[in-house]
């Protein structure tokens, strides 16, 4: 991981010195463990604050929306896919970006780790080989197998290497195959339930929601100037924490991501209540794959399925 960090700093320094970019967006250590934050480096002096390890789970594509500068951006597999989505949706142009691709082996799930230790985590150390994670705090120190504490979306990820990039900082990592991981096991489990059970499942899943909209803010897809939940004329959705309002919010938020979501997990990571909101977006991802053979963010020359029409689109539901 130190080699990754060094390489990111080295490339950023070079880009800024040569004047190829106006700034580099990367990750820096946050004020608390496991919460790395985005950092914008405008000059070569800033780049030494860049960091890379298993806590870089937020999606940096979120920070390039409608920018005018030339930007160097650190991008793991999912960030690169979201940059591709941004390019297709005209939120940034490819020429403005210098993508520093980072082959990724998954990010650590802060909710999972926090739940497994007895107290507040003060430090987290990964071993150089990327096999174990050791967390420590007042009176405890525990070591976990890295594979056991990965974010669920990372464990199921099929695109660990950036799909578009200008420069890779390391050799590509091996991709997982459809045989090794069953991406949609969780979705199928819900699909098999009866309507009542499904209703109860989501009632329970969303019951902790406090409507803080962190999932929306962390999501690179949610770039509307005014979100539907914030509008008051007309007011599309109730603003209370009534289960009905919460359900409508989550349904619509997920649906706005249909065919665009890359399953980067930023929403789940940002949720202060630890709600697995991916339960909704993953279903949409599965439907898009099954109905339209589409995976978001793999190409910059195709429009997403929900804004194109093909004569052979499935339409059995229309009577």
């Amino acid at each position: 991981m130190t080699s990754y960090t060094d390489k990111i700093r080295e490339i950023s320094k070079r880009l800024l010195k040569e004047g190829k970019v106006d700034m580099v967006i990367g990750f820096a250590k946050g004020s608390v463990p496991m919460m790395h934050q985005p950092m914008f480096a405008g000059n070569a002096g800033d780049v030494d604050r860049f960091a890379w390890d298993g806590n870089c789970g937020i999606n940096l594509a979120n920070y390039v929306t409608d920018r005018k500068e030339k930007i160097g951006i650190v991008a793991k597999g999912c960030d690169a896919r979201n940059l591709a989505v941004h390019i297709v949706e005209n939120k940034i142009s490819r020429d403005q970006l210098y993508i520093i691709g980072v082959p990724c082996t998954g990010m650590i799930d802060r909710h999972k780790i926090t739940a497994r230790v007895p107290g507040e985590i003060e430090a987290l150390v990964e071993d150089e080989a990327g096999k174990t994670v050791t967390v420590s705090g007042a009176g405890f120190s525990e070591t976990f197998d890295r594979a056991d504490v990965l974010q669920e979306n990372c464990a199921l990820c099929m695109h660990r290497n950036p799909v578009i990039y200008d420069e890779l900082i390391a050799d590509e990592v091996p991709e997982q195959s459809e045989k090794e991981v069953d991406r949609y096991a969780a979705v199928r489990k819900v699909e098999e339930m009866s309507p009542d059970e499904k209703w109860a499942y989501f009632e329970d899943l969303l019951s902790d929601c406090i409507r803080c909209y962190a999932c929306r803010n962390a999501c690179p897809l949610c770039y509307c100037p005014t979100c539907f939940v914030d509008e008051s004329k007309p007011q599309w959705v109730g603003k209370s924490v009534d289960p009905t309002d919460i359900r409508i919010f989550h349904f619509l938020r997920a649906y706005h991501c249909a065919g665009r979501c890359t399953d980067c997990g930023a929403c789940v990571r940002s949720c202060p209540m630890g709600i697995n909101v991916r339960a909704l977006t993953k279903k949409l991802e599965k439907d898009c794959l099954e109905n339209f053979g589409w995976e978001a963010g793999l190409t910059t020359d195709q429009r997403p399925p929900l804004d194109t029409f093909k004569p052979d689109d499935p339409e059995q539901f229309i009577k």
Binding site: P195, K198, T244, D245, L280
Partner: protein, 57 residues
């Protein structure tokens, strides 16, 4: 959309989609009848779609 709503527990048969031209009045009547019948058959849990009164601490 239908898929996700039904994934979240809306009963199949509650949400309907249909193309009806403004000239197809008979089709409209037919579809309206079918929709009413299908949804009335599912009335058992009607209440869950309604907002409850806000809880005051």
């Amino acid at each position: 959309m239908k898929n996700l709503l039904e994934h979240m527990g809306i009963e199949p048969g509650r949400l309907h989609f249909s193309w009806i031209s403004s000239a197809e009045s008979t089709k409209f009547v037919e579809v309206a009848k079918q929709v009413t019948e299908a949804t009335l058959a599912l009335t058992s849990k009607e209440k869950k779609y309604m907002k409850t009164k806000p809880k005051v601490a």
